[in-house]
Symmetry: D2
Subunit: 335 residues, 4 copies
């Protein structure tokens, strides 16, 4: 039985408690939060779980094998480092940390201590993203040409971190997963803050790669409607993933274009293809349950989880570069 | 009676002939195209119209008052200049020309010769854009915060000019109109070509302004679906303009956010408002008829058309800067 | 404190327990179900609630003031009658009973004993239906012309009662409420069974009234998609209520038609009006909580609940007539 | 060359002229209409076509091989009969005539004189209906269980014929075609008139068959929105045909249900299947061109057109019975 402690009982923490309680081979034995009310609610539902107001005290419980951090972004690095140094396996809410340097240090420590370090890239564990991954990996999509993802709504502003750390992190994690960890060579990001604090609430990220793959992400907290739509273009097929759709989330288009006479550039011709559309039935999965199982599995089997620290590194590397570009009006950041 | 000659009988030209024929006070008396077939078709429908294979010959007809150019982009400047110098009023298909310098020169000539110079920014003459303009001008929208427009489909590649010259030109003309000619101070654009010719078929433009207004445009010829959607955020209301919708093109959202305690930045609070939605009935207008009438009116009344050469200048200025940024991976271009 | 017992812990029962527990002035003190597992689950969540395997034993608890019946349709009459005779207020899941005669008898007993008898017409307590009711009552809709409601999906067959007793009951209760209890003078229903048991899984009900109001209901358990859409036509405005829409459930159309010269039938003319559309923000309400509060309020204040026994009678009267017509291929049943 | 005369130049007539002009082997040589304006417009476009104010005069032209009737419903029978008796092949706008007796008489005359008699069931010639037909005929759909079609909008009232003669005629012709001419054994129809003339503007038709196939049609001129949606349920798959969709008109659902233990009715169990969805690319066809070609082909090759007089008979038979039921509040009419 792997014994788990969960830090942070805000919006996401109670869901983590519930899901980890349901994983075979795992047991939540302690939680920590500075807020008595939140602790009280967990106590009502799970009287056996130990309560702490301080994360470090929880880390000091020798019987704890693994901890889950559902705390504000800027605490991730310090808490994760502390926990790793005390020999705990660590699962961190997205993003893994706030800079590439921080993530690299955490990876090093985890490596030295042979501990599992994982990040909660929840969307990787949905039926929709699993399906996209399988379409890409099977070759059905062809060469990946573009990834264009929009994630906008009238949403809660984070007072300290721009919208890309809250929303684009999802799109980047999905891209990283389905592209097999494809790394951009340059980043350009633009956006704006509409409040006095100067935290960008509307932002756009462009990613350049060695080949002609291109990725673009739109993030906004100030849209009147909720849109979560990703277009994925391949040389054979194209996919539209609409996460707001209750059942028909994935549409696979047998449409595309091809250049017919590339030798003579003066006579080139584009052929267009409009074909059938296919809406696959998606496996029913509770994503967060998948996250919890993958983390516990990675500890038990010393295996690599889908949302590995490596994928966390890739995502944070881009976010950090994008934020740098963002404050410089789209300036190209080479990676 | 204002006598009109139309140059170029490709896709758009015959529509121009038909619409100008229906304008009171105007008459199409000549057309020019190098293609005999195209000339023949016009002759069948309108036997009285004179046919020319060369535009200059048409310009030499002394009875011609005004010419309309529906020719490829790179011919706009030369043909317009020639026609103006021969004393003809000129309407040019979008974009007006291929650089700010060219447009400025055309404006100068038109000014000296007191001729009307207009660009066919067709969308300005739709019921939808007219409605948006009235909502913005009435103050109902509040301070303009953002303009985010997507215009994508699986569309005809232009072999010489990137997708922004074909598609973003529409969005930029709409923005210019509804914002009252608001000029950006910086441009950043990104994108990619997926063919050997290196013409970008997927591109994104960001516009910065002196205040916190922000604009972003997505253009693509390689989307499996046709999307033409514009989000316009104001401090009071927000608008979604979906041009693919057959009847409910404009939705006005009484939703928004406001910062409640701006003095103490540590205690700031965002209030969110989700309110009613209103879908106004739009006036039925044939946009191209409106273009033709506005051009003829501008000649007759020496008035300024909505799609003035000034708006043409604003749009081309941005396109030129965006193209420069585009080939430099998002490099900021200050204006 | 009004003490409540709940009979039937299948799909709906546990929701009733939870909601009644949260009503001020009410307390669930006992539940009954023949299934030990279901009883066990309630016990885990609410250890103080008494458990019974037999409804009658629960009815015999003298401290019980009110009972809620969430049992199969054919048990409603007998259980409700027994409970009323023992002096308990009674809330019954829809439909109230299986025939007009049964409902009338229950109403009589409740009347004699001055007990509250209510039926769980849940939709009456939603923000959407409340909004429609207010639009109708304000006169904004004008004269009610038609009500056309579709409620279909690939849903659980009931082995004993046709689809109208499961689905049309919702539409009929909504019609009864928004029309102010308007009673049809004739019913025709058609439909079919696609299984060996002969229970109709697809059915249509038409209702005639003394004036030219018309109502039609489509019910199906065998549709590949879930549709819950109601069109309500008035002489001034029309409403579309789409319950599958997450947020924009109600659209009010300022569209209509009017006959312009009714005197001379040979010269009549229909004028059509296409106007604005308005999507009101709906109040957030948990419908079942509203049901529970209305029931408790009706007991405490001796008031009439929205989902009164009278509305239950109206609905069952129509269902009974419709079923009779249904087995006779649409035969008109006069009421 | 088959020489064609077209009677009636209202809304549909000019489209017929244009389409018949484009059919190889056919030529429109005359048209008739009582309205000089309409005749004048045809003359402008086709100066060689002869103009008549009276249909009979046109019928008397000996060179005319075939006539097309695009006149009001109540004139169909008389005009078609006259034309047939004069030895002309006849294509009639839907519906073929106003009663089964009329259609039978026309069929008899056409048979005796070996003339082609066809009805313009335009939808049969669309890519969407062709696709549905092929799915049904291939066996992919399985046993046809239901056909449920809704065709409503805020549309032009016909002052003499109820909405079913205007709209349901389309749905009935589609059903007749895809079901291979399956004939109902009973009809029930309901509906209402909201004007003083008593012409039903809202109506519903139910069709019973010898087996458990069921069909239902909703027709309305008073809906605030345009809906043209047909659900077709089979024992293997289900189809949704949404004619308002610009491109994705047909969705094929691999969903369904099956009864697993039919022997023991007390233990029956329904299995539900939710599977993939498939949106086929549809062939691009101009439907009316297809109608014209099929008519000309039927004359030239003495072949049976898709929209044969037999299908016209089936549709009129149902419409006549439905109208009889409609005025009797759903009374069952056995066929």
């Amino acid at each position: 039985m792997i014994k788990v402690g969960i830090i942070g009982l805000g919006y996401w923490g109670p869901n983590l408690v519930r899901n980890f309680q349901s994983v075979n081979g795992a047991e939540v034995i302690a939680v920590a939060d500075f807020d008595d009310n939140r602790l009280g609610k967990i106590h009502q539902l799970y009287p056996k779980i130990k309560l702490f107001k301080d994360a470090e005290e929880l880390f000091n419980l020798s019987e704890i094998d693994a901890v889950v951090l559902a705390t504000p972004i800027n605490t991730h690095y310090t808490l994760a480092k502390t926990a790793l140094l005390k020999g705990k396996h660590v699962l961190v809410e997205k993003p893994l940390a706030t800079s590439r340097a921080e993530v690299l240090e955490l990876i090093d420590i985890a490596g030295e201590k042979e501990l599992s370090l994982m990040v909660d890239h929840t969307f990787l564990y949905t039926g929709a993203v699993q399906k996209i991954k399988s379409v890409v990996d099977s070759g059905e999509l062809g060469k990946l040409q573009y990834f264009d993802s929009t994630r906008i709504n009238l949403g809660l502003f984070n007072p300290n971190w721009s919208v890309i750390w809250d929303l684009a992190v999802h799109d980047l994690s999905i891209f990283d997963y389905i592209s097999g960890g494809k790394k951009p060579v340059a980043v350009s990001a633009t956006g704006v803050s509409h409040t006095q604090l100067g935290i960008e609430n509307l932002a756009y990220i462009s990613l350049y790669f060695e080949d002609d793959t291109f990725a673009h992400i739109t993030s906004s907290w100030i849209s009147p409607v909720k849109i979560r739509k990703t277009l994925i273009g391949g040389s054979n097929k194209m996919i539209i993933y609409d996460d707001v759709e209750p059942t028909e989330k994935i549409k696979i288009y047998d449409s595309g274009f091809s250049v017919s006479s590339p030798e003579d550039v003066h006579k080139w011709l584009i052929d267009y293809r409009f074909g059938d559309i296919y809406i696959p039935k998606l496996p029913q999965m509770e994503a967060l349950k998948g996250v919890a199982e993958d983390f516990i599995g990675s500890i038990r089997d010393k295996s690599l989880p889908l949302a590995s620290s490596e994928s966390g590194l890739n995502v944070v590397t881009i976010l950090e570069a994008a934020q740098k570009s963002l404050v410089n009006r789209g300036q190209t950041i080479n990676l």
